[in-house]
Structures are given as C-alpha cells and as structure tokens.
C-alpha cells in the first residue's frame, strides 16, 4: 500500500507571530519556518506503518512556495521515500486554501493510486482544521480525523479518535483519510546520515495547473489584526489575600 502524507511549511511553533502594522497579515519574512507539527506526526505514523510492513512506499506532498522543498527534505530525512512539490504560490505570505489544497491532493492521489492518506489534523498557521475532511469528501473516501491510535487491519483501519467527551473508536474502509492528533506518536528526529541521504531521494516538482486546479481564494482577507490584549493584573502575597480579592470581585 502506498501512503501519501501532505506536509505544510508553516511558521515555527516557537516563534511569536507579529501582525503587520498595515493589517495585511502576519509577517513571515525572515522568520524561522518548519514543518507543521501535526504533519510531522503524520509522517512518523506513515513511517511506523512501513516499518511494521503495512505500507510499501511513503510519498510526501507539499503545496505552496518553492521553499517548501526544505520541509519535504525534512520528511525524506525522517524516512519518507519520495516527495512531490506542487508549486502554487510565489510569495511566502500567500496561503493556499484547504479546498484548493484538497483538490490538488486529489489529483496527486489519482496519479499515484495511493491507498491511504495520513495528514495533520490542522496547520498551526490558519488553524482551519479542514484539508483532510475536504480531501475525503472529494475522493469519496471515509475519514478518521483527530487520530490518537491507528491500526491497519486488512482492508480497513481501526482508528481511535480524540473527541469532546473522551475517545471514540471507528473502523474506516480503505482507502481512507486519517488526520493525526497530538498524541498519535512522538515524531523522530532525523539523523545526520539520513539528512545526507535525503538529499538524494527524488523530489518531483509540479504546478497546480498540472492537476487542473484553480487556486483562486474563495475567502478574501479583509484585514488581519492583533487580538485584544490582556494586561497583567496584580500579584497577591498569600492564599488569604487571593481569596479576599476574589470575594471582592464576586468571583467566588
């Protein structure tokens, strides 16, 4: 079975984002970029499936700017077999919407005849939490989102999902889309020899037009602003002082 893992290049999760003063967006120039953390978990899960003999090949795909090559190389260094970069933007500030990304990924799936897609549940930049579900709709496949445990069993996957009240286990027919939640696994670090080897693994470049997808956004960004900020209040010296303050405020 061929496993496809979409990966996104996003601002590193440790970087404090800065909203541009003119309201046009978040400043991404000269900022550290990394693989979306949920996508790292997805790559790791695919590698574990391959190590367990449940998958034959892992293809990683990124849709975005040329610089996403680095993100794909990271996935290859972790253990993916080959990469496809779909160049769909030339400015790092241009985000391709989940619907367009899903359409491109559908094209890749058709071309590659993939049997399973493992994606991150959401990207930490636009926090949309949509691409996996949208891809499942477009392919007509079943979906198992927010996965914390995946077990491939013949022509189905048994997936435990993180839901509001606790955990839900479902069985989804393959081919299917799985999206990874935080506790699915702990992604490995790429070793230096593997980073060197990854440079020689195949990385194919495509465009959105190759898949006949129009990436024109459906959502126009009117403005981007700083959230209302909170200011630090006061420090209290003791539990008694804290209780007094909360009583004064009518909070307890």
């Amino acid at each position: 079975m061929k496993v496809l893992v979409p990966v996104k290049r996003v601002i590193d999760y440790n970087v404090k984002v800065r909203v541009k003063a003119d309201g046009s967006g978040v400043d991404l120039a000269n900022v550290k970029m990394s693989m979306n953390p949920f996508d790292e978990i997805a790559v790791e899960e695919a590698i574990r499936l391959k190590e367990a003999g449940k998958a034959d090949e892992i293809v990683v795909v990124s849709v975005g700017v040329k610089q996403a090559q680095e993100t794909l190389r990271t996935a290859l260094a972790m253990g993916a077999d080959r990469a496809i970069l779909v160049v769909a933007a030339d400015d790092v500030h241009q985000d391709i919407e989940p619907l367009a990304v899903a359409k491109i990924l559908k094209g890749v799936i058709d071309a590659e005849d993939a049997g399973l897609v493992i994606a991150g549940k959401q990207a930490i930049d636009n926090d949309m939490n949509a691409t996996g579900q949208m891809l499942a709709a477009l392919t007509g496949w079943g979906q198992a989102t927010f996965a914390s445990e995946v077990e491939i069993d013949g022509d189905a996957a048994k997936v435990t999902r993180e839901v509001d009240g606790g955990l839900q286990t479902i069985s989804v027919k393959l081919p299917a889309i799985i999206t990874a939640d935080l506790r699915l696994n702990e992604p490995r670090y790429a070793s230096l020899p593997n980073i060197m080897k990854a440079k020689k693994k195949p990385l194919e470049e495509k465009t959105a037009a190759d898949y006949g997808v129009d990436t024109t956004p459906r959502l126009e960004v009117v403005k981007t602003t700083e959230p209302a900020s909170r200011t630090a209040g006061e420090m209290v010296e003791s539990v008694d002082a804290l209780i007094a303050k909360l009583k004064e405020k009518g909070a307890i």
Binding site: D127, A130, S171, V172, D240
Partner: protein, 306 residues
C-alpha cells in the same frame, strides 16, 4: 435568508449549551432551522431554544454515532434551501462541516468568533495571536462558530418539528466503541469556573488536588497540553489551541507556565488566577491575580479555606 444549523448531539441527547450558543450566531445571519441528526426527544428540546423557527429531525440508526460521512450526506441533501450552514465548533462539527463544504464546492470557515455581515466573519489564526477578517465569495457559507464567544440563546421557543428522511448509507465507516469519561462535574465549555492543572502537578495522583479544588468551587476541571501528554489528565480536558477553547467567569491556572497554545484556549476568561512557583512564568502576564507559591502548599490551603 435561511440558516441550517447542525445541532450538537452527544450520547443521544441534545447538547443544549453548545447548540443554543450557535443559535445566537445563527440568528445574526437569518431564519434558523435546526437539524437534529438524532432522536426526536433531542429535536423537541431544540424546538424550545429561543429564536429557532423550525426543527428538522432525522432519527435513524445511521446517525447514532455522528459519523462524518452519513451526517455530511444528510446535510448536503437538505442544503439547497439554505444560504448558511452552521454548527458549534465542537470536535464532532469540526469533523463534519469541512466535508460538507467540500461536497458543496465551497470553503469552510472554522472557529468563527464574530459575524460582521452575511459574508464577512472574524476568526482567530496562529493560535489566536492574530484575528483575521475574511469575506466569502461562495454562494453558500459553511461555518463553525466558537461557542466561548457567543452567549447561549434562552429558552421559550416553540418551533415546529418536522421529520426528514435519512440519506443513503455511504457505508464507508462504522462505529466500534466510545470511551467517554462519566463525570458529575460541570462541562468544560459551559462551566462558570474552571480549575486547570499543568505540568507542575507532577503526577496523575497529584492531579487529584485540582479535582478537590474544583469540587469545592463546583468548577470544571481543565488541563494543559503538558499535563495531558504526561498522562496526568485525559485528552478531553485539554484547554488550548488544539483542545477546548473556554471563557468562564473565573479560570484558575495551577502549575501551568502559559505556553501561547494554552493561552489561546483561555485568555478570554473574565478573571484569570495563576498559581505557579516560577515568578517568570508567562501565565502571570495574562493573569488578573497571580500568586507565586508552591502549589502543593497553596492548593490544599485554598481548598480548605474556601
């Protein structure tokens, strides 16, 4: 303009608070029809929410576990009459609505925090570190609304309840089991007071300190990602960017340093109290009242004196 609102059904019953909050958002967009993919009793309850003009009930075993594929097909089968399709931002709706949007060839708008007009919405990005205002050019708008930013609609409505036929079974997935923790405590997303514990607790056993304080205050229990990852608390208690977003009247953060991903989930709380032994912890920068103390001294004392 007509709005189709997917009610939150959990464990066979209407999740009233989440649904009523979404109704408030829906009313700002037009005439609200609530769709209950669940038992008719849940439909009767939804009909009592103020501002609901009609309730559609699809009571079929196919929808008993909220599987995304059949529920999405049901919504799409009804979508023709509506300009907006909306749901509260729950784990269930976040699973379903993007699928609905793609089936309708429109973009989804997740976690909407404000409605500017029928096509323009505000939503947080980058874990709430920026607020984006977006205008949709799609014919239908599919959105999930963040419940912590909308007040629940009251009761007193008496909408008509109609039944709708189930859509065909796509037979793509099936339910195996639920592991849902039973708790007498208030629900995290609707509680007036939340006591949350972090890595500072050090163990699952010590997390009982948080539960003791919560019970004294009749509060819900929350946790930071660090506490959940370390196994001190179950996943459904996680507050933050990828967990639950809450805005109670009082949020007490205990042994939580305050990573931006956590702050994203609780910084709209009315009053924030932070108790941490590290006076440099970023949580103090958003707290109304900070207490630098060892939680193993402060929490028992607080619990006793309340």
């Amino acid at each position: 303009m007509a709005v189709l609102l997917l009610a939150e059904v959990s464990g066979g019953a209407l999740a009233l608070d989440a649904t009523a909050k979404a109704v408030t958002a829906g009313k700002a967009l037009g005439d609200v029809t609530v769709l209950v993919a669940g038992p008719s009793a849940a439909g009767d309850e939804a009909a009592k929410i103020d501002g609901v003009s009609k309730v559609l009930v699809a009571d079929d075993a196919l929808y008993a576990n909220g599987l995304a594929e059949p529920v999405s097909d049901l919504i799409v089968s009804l979508a023709g009459d509506y300009e907006h399709i909306i749901a509260p931002s729950t784990a269930s709706a976040k699973n379903i609505l993007p699928r609905v949007a793609a089936l309708l060839d429109v973009m989804v708008l997740s976690d909407v925090t404000a409605i500017v007009d029928g096509a323009t919405f505000e939503r947080p990005i980058y874990a709430g570190n920026a607020i984006q205002t977006v205008k949709s050019s799609d014919a239908k708008k599919v959105l999930t609304v963040r419940t912590s930013t909308f007040d629940a609609a009251g009761e007193g409505g008496s909408a008509a309840v109609d039944t709708v036929a189930a859509a065909a079974d796509p037979a793509l997935s099936s339910h195996v089991e639920d592991k849902v923790a039973a708790s007498d405590r208030p629900e995290l997303t609707s509680a007036g007071i939340i006591v949350s514990g972090g890595r500072g607790l050090g163990s699952e056993e010590n997390f009982a300190l948080i539960e003791g304080l919560a019970d004294k205050l009749n509060a819900a229990v929350g946790a930071s990602r660090a506490a959940v990852d370390s196994g001190y608390a179950p996943n459904d208690l996680q507050v933050g960017q990828t967990g639950k977003v809450v805005a109670p009247d009082l949020y007490i953060a205990v042994g939580i340093s305050g990573a931006i991903q956590h702050l994203a989930g609780m910084k709209d709380s009315k009053i924030i109290v932070a108790i941490n032994k590290d006076e440099e912890a970023p949580i103090f920068q958003v707290a109304d009242y900070g207490l630098v103390a060892d939680l193993f001294d402060a929490i028992p004392e607080l619990t006793e004196k309340l």
